[in-house]
């Protein structure tokens, strides 16, 4: 790895701190009984003291980020486009509501950070009516943004207090227009990170803006092949303690979305091996191939009840398998990637400390032969020294 230009890079994750100084990366398990800054200083205070605030860069994926609820008039245009933009801005989507069904939708129990309302090209109007306003009256939310047809903007503004109106994300050719909503959501996310007392205090050690970790990772993607022996096209799986992020290049998507960004991101919430262990197990139990895979790995389902290294390994392996399933045609999801065209699968995050390339290859082989009935075998590449994160974090802000 190249030097970091004598910068100190710090990543605050949901489970670990990562600290990169020069060529070395240290990782520390977080202590959740302590405030973030206090915990960080206890673990790496001496190192941090050696750097000027201008040379310290911090990013954070802790605290889950912002939650969004999207209301749109169709699945393949408005909901899909808004979902795509929100994912790319690093937002967690708690639910999507098809407007025609809004009368039968239950309300989320938690406060929603941002509600996105979308639908219609500008040539159409009168899409929204009382059922929307009635739902919004009952919903607990902090922000609401409208990005649908401009013809309905006035009615929306009259009926939903404090709504932010931005240009339509669907243009007259039914293509996606990302920029305005993406900037709005990214800023909201940024304000949220900065507003969290815990994170805010980190400005005591850095003079640079604190970014979200997915943003940093996404920024490294176009230059990844300069650092790794990665064969294009590739996907990047960031399997962490609480969530799993997938970054992929656009040419791997069979889709009606035509965007300008080269790389997209998809998040599977509650698919992590520490904080989301239980929901990972639930997801595994819901997959009909899990038991065959467990047998293949020479363990039984008792492994779900075990703790320890062996159980963590198997859970990590299951996480890789489930993520691949979710992206394939076998499971219809928000997007399907052309998995048969992928030449490398790059893995980063906590998983690289637990699994070896051979242990991942077993899963890749099982998935491609069982689910895709193919002999294709993408090569697994482990980013075990967090070079991708370093690459993104080192880039000029």
């Amino acid at each position: 790895m190249k030097d970091t230009g004598d910068k100190l890079l710090i990543d605050v994750g949901s489970t670990y701190f990562k600290i990169c100084a020069g060529d070395s990366i240290e990782q520390y398990m977080r202590d959740f009984n302590r405030e973030i800054l206090e915990d960080l200083m206890a673990k790496a205070g001496q190192l941090i003291a050696r750097y000027q605030p201008a040379d310290i860069r911090v990013c954070s994926s802790a605290n889950g980020g912002l939650s969004a609820l999207i209301i749109g008039v169709t699945r393949t245009f408005s909901l899909k486009y808004a979902t795509n933009i929100a994912f790319n801005a690093g937002i967690n989507i708690i639910d999507t509501i098809l407007y025609q069904d809004i009368g039968n939708c239950s309300l989320p129990s938690d406060l929603v950070d941002v509600v996105i309302i979308v639908g219609g090209v500008n040539a159409h109007g009168g899409l929204f009516s009382r059922s929307l306003y009635r739902y919004m009256e009952q919903l607990q939310y902090s922000n609401v943004v409208y990005v649908g047809t401009e013809r309905d903007a006035a009615a929306i503004q009259t009926n939903i207090p404090d709504v932010v109106v931005l240009p339509n994300i669907i243009d007259e050719r039914l293509h996606i227009v990302e920029e305005h909503l993406k900037v709005y959501l990214t800023n909201l996310y940024q304000q949220d990170i900065e507003g969290k007392e815990d994170i805010k205090r980190l400005y005591e050690i850095t003079a640079n803006q604190i970014y979200s970790t997915p943003y940093i990772v996404n920024r490294a993607l176009p230059v990844i092949d300069a650092t790794f022996s990665v064969a294009n096209p590739f996907i990047l799986l960031d399997i962490g303690g609480a969530t799993t992020d997938i970054h992929y290049s656009k040419d791997l998507v069979e889709d009606n979305i035509v965007t300008e960004n080269g790389y997209d991101r998809l998040v599977f919430k509650r698919l992590g091996v520490y904080k989301s262990r239980q929901s990972l197990i639930l997801a595994a139990q819901g997959n009909e191939f899990t038991y065959e895979l467990l047998t293949h790995l020479k363990v039984t389902e008792n492994i779900f009840k075990e703790q320890g290294e062996r159980a963590t390994k198997v859970l990590m392996q299951l996480a890789v398998f489930l993520v691949l399933c979710k992206m394939s045609h076998y499971r219809q999801s928000y997007i399907n990637l052309k998995l048969l065209q992928i030449n490398s699968i790059v893995l980063t995050g906590g998983i690289t400390k637990v699994l070896t390339v051979a242990e991942i290859d077993v899963i890749i082989a099982f998935f491609y032969s069982k689910i895709l009935t193919s002999d294709h075998r993408p090569v697994a590449v482990l980013d075990s020294d967090y070079a991708i994160w370093t690459l993104g974090a080192r880039g000029s802000y």
Partner: protein, 137 residues
Amino acid sequence: MKVVTGVVGNDIHVVANRLIDLALRARGYEVFNLGVNTHLQEFFDAVVETGAQVLMISSLNGEAEGWGREVRLLRSQYTNLDDLIMMIGGNLVVGSGNGEDIAARYRNYGFDIACHQVDLNTGLDMLAALLRERGIQ
């Protein structure tokens, strides 16, 4: 009058689609062209997003029948498509067949007009006649 058009399924025959786009515009329609390779759900969703009154589907490569059978079920899942006029044209069967029989079958699938190997202008005249008949244009 707004029209959503495109070529259904995994069909990449694009020439007729381009001609349809031009011919519709020349006749004064507002066109939303989804192009080739369009899934059935995308057609209906595009109608909802645009408020189109007419959905005009092409199929050239022989897939039409398979999609045709799914139309009623899918359409019934939408609450706001009752007044939509649906039309399909191109090569509606694999190989050849009697145009009248084929059209009757597609009306059964839920299409108002079905044009098996009917020239485009004839088809558009049929649409204009139907719109007049329904007092829409």
